[in-house]
Point group: C2
Chain length 748, copies 2
Amino acid sequence: MKLKAAAEIGISAVHVKLPRTATENEVMHRVMEVNEDSKIHGLIVQLPLDSVHTINTERIINSVAPEKDVDGLTSINAGKLARGDLGDCFIPCTPNGCMELIKQTGETNTSRFRSGFCHCNSLFVHFSLYSDVTISRSCVPKPIECLAKEVGLFSDEVELYGRTKAKVQLKTIDRLQAQPDGKYVVVTGITPTPLGEGKSTTTVGLVQALGAHLKLNAFACVRQPSQGPTFGIKGGAAGGGYSQVIPMEEFNLHLTGDIHAITAANNLVAAAIDARMFHEATQSDKALFNRLVPLTEGQRKFSPVQISRLEKLGIKKTDPSMLTEEEITRFVRLDIDPESITWQRVLDTNDRFLRKITIGQSPTEKGFTRTAQFDITVASEIMAVLALTTSLADMKERLAKMVVATSRSGQPVTTEDLGVCGALTVLMRDAIKPNLMQTLEGNPVFVHAGPFANIAHGNSSILADKIALKLVGPQGFVVTEAGFGADIGMEKFFNIKCRNSGLKPHVVVLVATVRALKMHGGGPTVTAGTPLAKEYIEENLVLLEAGCSNMRKQVENAQLFGVPVVVAVNAFKTDTKAELDLICKLAKEAGAFDAVHCSHWADGGAGAADLARAVQKAADLPNSFKFLYDVELPIVDKIRIIAQKIYGADDIELLPEAQHKVELYSKQGFASLPICMAKTHLSLSHDAEKKGVPTGFVLPIRDIRASVGAGFLYPLVGTMPTIPGLPTRPCFYDIDLDTESGEVHGLF
Amino acid sequence: MKLKAAAEIGISAVHVKLPRTATENEVMHRVMEVNEDSKIHGLIVQLPLDSVHTINTERIINSVAPEKDVDGLTSINAGKLARGDLGDCFIPCTPNGCMELIKQTGETNTSRFRSGFCHCNSLFVHFSLYSDVTISRSCVPKPIECLAKEVGLFSDEVELYGRTKAKVQLKTIDRLQAQPDGKYVVVTGITPTPLGEGKSTTTVGLVQALGAHLKLNAFACVRQPSQGPTFGIKGGAAGGGYSQVIPMEEFNLHLTGDIHAITAANNLVAAAIDARMFHEATQSDKALFNRLVPLTEGQRKFSPVQISRLEKLGIKKTDPSMLTEEEITRFVRLDIDPESITWQRVLDTNDRFLRKITIGQSPTEKGFTRTAQFDITVASEIMAVLALTTSLADMKERLAKMVVATSRSGQPVTTEDLGVCGALTVLMRDAIKPNLMQTLEGNPVFVHAGPFANIAHGNSSILADKIALKLVGPQGFVVTEAGFGADIGMEKFFNIKCRNSGLKPHVVVLVATVRALKMHGGGPTVTAGTPLAKEYIEENLVLLEAGCSNMRKQVENAQLFGVPVVVAVNAFKTDTKAELDLICKLAKEAGAFDAVHCSHWADGGAGAADLARAVQKAADLPNSFKFLYDVELPIVDKIRIIAQKIYGADDIELLPEAQHKVELYSKQGFASLPICMAKTHLSLSHDAEKKGVPTGFVLPIRDIRASVGAGFLYPLVGTMPTIPGLPTRPCFYDIDLDTESGEVHGLF
C-alpha cells in the first residue's frame, strides 16, 4: 500500500515493509520485484528486529539493484549493523552515516541533496496542489535518532518522544563549550497583512537551501505554535508547501507537551493566589502561622522557600518559635490587593467567553468573588521565561521572581512569596529541553517555546539557538524567526532576546510579498477568509511602488542595529516578474545588501538557493551589532526611543495608568528592565488601519505591565486581545482521523 | 558519585559511568576497582555508544568478577550486542534477556527475584524511613525498552517517551488475538478513611510478589493520577514505600501528556458550544449557512461531519444548493437551551474559585453572559471515554455521540452537531495508547486513564487490561485497581467496565486496614493533615471487631457478583498481631476465600507473598461471574437495585429534577445505559458521617446526568464537588528541583 501511495504522489523512495513472518526468500523476492519497477527509484529494506538472527541480511542488501541502492547501505556489513529501536530499519554505524532515502533520478529534476553533516530526505517537487498535510506525509521522515546522530548529538543527550520527535538535553552546551558558534540569521518581515507573508516558510526554505544546495550545516529554530489557532481560523504554523517541518501534525498538536506544562504551571500559580487570599481573609494570624508552619513530630520547621521569604522581609530567623507577633503577621500575610493582580489563568484554546469572567461564585468561597480573565497559554509569562532562560538554574530563579500582584502596602508579591516557585520548576523541567524535528528535506529543526508576539517578545528559545549554534560549527548557519513585522519581532529579538543571550546576529532576512506591499500602497483591505481583490492578483506596479515605502522603513529599522539586511521576496503564483524585480530594485536602493526572489513554497530548498547564497555572502560582511537603547535609561525614554526611531512617531503620550506604573515600577526597582512593546502588528503605528509609513502621530501608552521573571516591562499601546475566539465555521470542521491508517485529515 | 550515593542507601547494583574519552585500559581499571569493593554487590558496564568500535567489549565484560557479574551479560558475545539508544548500556539480544541489576547477596535478606518473563530490579529493603521519592530513586529503573522486550512486545509496537516511559500501540492486541488471556484480578477496599487504605500500594505489591516470588508473569494496571492533588494535599498516587511505580515523579507529573490532551479536547468542545450559541444569536439563517458552508472556488460543499448531521435530521441531500429554507434553518441552528448545558470546562488544577463562575462578560461577547463552572480534568467525560473505549474506531464513535446539551425542542445536541468530533479524535490519538512503566522491583505496569471515581467510574483503561492479559498469557496475572470502596469502584468495575470489555474477573482482592475498621467501629473522626487519635495507634480489639461489619458487608457485595474474595490486611507499624489476626478470622467467617496480612509497603513484594499465593489459589476456583442488573430494566429499577443490594438502603427517592431526567433520557433513548452512581465514598450510605453498615435509610437522588459517549447515566446522590481546592499550606511548599542533579524533592 505504502508503495503504491508513494509512487502515486511521485515520491522516489519507498519503504518495503515485510511481514514479521517473512522468510529470507520472500524478502529476496520482494526486493527483486522492486528492482524491476521503473516507477520506484530506490528502496529501504526493513526487517523485523526479531528476524535479524534468522535472515542473512548481507545477502538481501546485496540483492538490491545498484541504481536502486539506498545510499549508505552497501557501505556497511551486517556485523556492523546497529539494531536499535530505529523503526526496525538498518542503520550504518559509520560516524555520520545514517539511513537515507534514495535520490530522485532520471526525468525528475531534483538534484542530489547533501550537506556537511546532514543527509537530506529526497524530495520530488511538482506543481500540482497538494495540501500541506499531504506534502508533509509524502516524505518519509528519518527516524529522529538518525538525525540526532547526523547533527553530532550523543545518544545520552537525546530523549526520544516517539519516532519523529526528541528532546535534547542542556548538557550538550557544556560539552561543546569550546566549539565556536555558527552564523546567526534572523528572519523577519515587512508589516504583514492579516494572512501573514511567509516568515516560517522562508525560515524552513532557507535552511533547506543552505543544507541541501550550499552543502552547509544548517539548523532552523522555530516557535511551537499555540493549539488555539490550529483549530480556530489560522491553522498550523509548520511552514507551508515544500518548506515545512514534518510531520506537521506532530508539530501542530501537543508536540512534546511543553505548552501543556506551561498551562499547568501557570494555573497552579493562579489557584494559589486566590486560595491564599481566601485563607488570609478567613483565618487569624495565629491560625495561618500554625497551618503554614505545621507541627510535625512535635516541632515546627520552615521550608526553604519560607526561609527565603523571611530573608526578603529582613527577618534573620530560622526557628519558628523565635518570631515575634509582628514578624508572624508580616510572614503569614501577603495582603494582596485584589485590584493589583496581573496574573491571569490560561488555556491553549480559542475561548472568547473567558476574556472576562467573575470567579468564586460558589457558596464554598463565601462570597469572595472577583473579576478575572483567561489568556491564551502562549501569553503566559512562563512561556516568555522558557524562551529567554539560559539554564535550568536561571529558569528556577526567573520562575521564583515572577510578580503576580502588589500588596496593599505596595510591595511586589512573587511566586516565591506564594511558596509555589519550586513546584513550577518541577513542572517545567522537561519543557526546558529543546525539541528536535526535521524539515521536509531532512534538515534539523529545533521547535522550542512560542511566546505571544504582542504582550511578550514573540521569539523562539535562546537555549535552542545556543545548542544549534554549537552543533553547526563556525561555518554553519542557524536560522531563527522573529514574530510579526520587523518593528515588533525583530526589535524585540535584538533588544530583549540578544541582550539576554549575549549572541550577535550576522544577517537579517526581511521577508516581503507583492500582496502586502500593494496593501501598503493603498490596495483594498485584506481579510482572512474572504477572496483577494483583483489588485492583488493582477500586475499593478503603481500600488506596489507606493507600498515599498513600508519595506524601506523596515530595512532602515534593521540597519539601526548595524546588521546587514537581505530582502527575501516570497513569490506567489500570481506575481509577475516585473513586480518581483521592482521590489528587489527598491530594496537595494533602500540599503539592503541584496534582494532576491524565492519560490521555496513551490520548489522547496531549490527555490531559496539564491537567498541562501546572498545570506552566506552577507554573513561575511563586517558587522557592527548594537542595541537601540541603554536599559539604564528611564522607562519613558526607552519607550520614546522605540516609538520615534522604529515606529516613526512624533512622540509618546502616557495615560494616567501608565504614568502610575512608571512610578510604581521605579519604586519597586524594575526600572532598568528592557521594553517589550504591546502594539498591533498590522501597522507601524498604533492604528492597524494606517498602512505604509504613518507619520505625524503620537503613540498613546494606555498602561504598562511588568514580566519581572521574563525580564521586561510591556507598555500597552491600545487594547490587546489576549485570547482569540472561534469563527462560525472553525478549522475543526475539516479535521478528522482515519482510524484505519491513523492519518490526520484537514490540518493545514 | 552515583557509586557512593547508591552504596550509602544500601543499594546493591551500581552503574559505572565512564567518561566518553575513556580508553580500554581505563575502563578495565575501573572494573577492577569495583571488583575489589566489598560494599558493591554488582555492576553494570556502560560505555558511550560511540566507543563500541574502539573498545574490546568482550575483554571488559570478561573482566567483571563472577560474583559481581550482572546477570545475563556473560551469556552474550560482543557480536550479538544491540547498540541501540538504550542509555548506552549493553543489551543481550537473547529472546527475553535484558540488562539486569545484580542481586543483593550475603547479609541482606532480599532473595533472588525472577519471574517467567520479567527480570526484576534488585531491591535492598530495610526499615529506616526513606521518603517515597528517595526509595523511588534508590532503584535504578531498567531502560523501558528492555522491559518492553521482556514482556514480549515488538520494537515497532513501542513508542519511547524518554528512558522510563513508553506508549504501546493498539495493534499488539490484533497480533496476540489467538493468545488466551491471563487471570484477571481487581483490587478494591472496604469503606476508607479520608487517608486511603493502600489499594494502589497493594496492587503494586501484589504484582511484585506474583512476579518475583511466585515467578509468574504479572502485570499491574493502574490509573494516571490527577496533578491537582499532587500539588494540593493528597500527594501522588504511585503506591508507596517499597511498593511503587518508578520513577514516581514521572508517574505523578505529566506522564506522557494524556490528561493534558483531555484538557485540550474537553475545552475545545466548551469553546465551541459558547461560540456557536453566540454566532447563532447574532446571525441570520442565511448568514450562518453561508459561513458554515462557504463558497470555495465558486461552489459550496458540505464537510463529512455536516453530512452526518443532515442524515441525523433526516435530510438526504448532499448538494448545499438543494436545501429548502426550512432545512437550512434546521441545519444551521442547534438552538441550544443554555439552561441544559451539561458540558463543563476543565483544568487539572485544584482551583476552587472556578467552581462557579460567570463567563462572557467582555464587551466583545455583547452581553451573552451565563453561569458556568470548571471541573478537574479527570472528571471530563472524555476521560471516561478513554477508560472505556475498546479501539480507535470505537473511541471516535464515542467522542462523536457525547451529548453536551439539549435543544429548545428537546433534542440532544452532540459534539458531532458542533462539528468538533473529528478534532477530538485527532487530539486523543496518542492518549489512547497505554503507558508502560515499571514497579520498584522491575515488573511491568500500564498507567492509563484515571476517570473521576464519583461522577465517573474510577477505573483504569480497558485497553491496558486487554493488552496486559494477552501479554501475561494463560498462567499469568493482571492486577487492576478500582477506585474508592467496593460499594463504588468495584460495583462500577463489574457493572460498567466489565460489561463494556466482556472480560471476566477471577479474583477480588479487598484491602482492609485496622485504622479504617476501628473508625467504622466508632473510633474518632480521621482527618487528613491532623495526627491520629490514640485509639488508632494502640491496640483496641473492641472497636476493631465492631468495625469489621463494614468489611463483612463489602465481602458480601463482592460475592453478589459471584467472584471469590481474598482480604488483604494492609498492616501499619502500629497494628498488633492480635488485631491483624482478628480481621483475618472475621473475614473468613464473612465468606472470604482467604484473608492474609501484608507488609509490602515496608518489605516490597516479599511482604505480599502470602497474598499472592492466596490469590493464585482463588483464581483456580470455579467462577460464576454475573452482573448485578440487566441494563434493559427501567432506569429507576437499576438505581434501586444498586441502592438496596450494595448500599443497604431501604429504598430510593427521586427528587423532581431526577424525575424529569428519567423522563427526558427515556424519551431521548438513553434509558438502557448502565448506572454510574455519584455517591460519597466515605460511607455505604449517602451520608459521609454514617460509618460501619448504615441501615434504615432512603437514598435521595438529587439529579441524573448522562455520559452518552462514555456510556452511562450518573445519578447524583447529594452534591458532588467536581474540583478540589488548595489548603492553606499545599504540598507545593516542599516541592523543588535540584538544578545540579536534576532531582525532584518533596513529592510523596
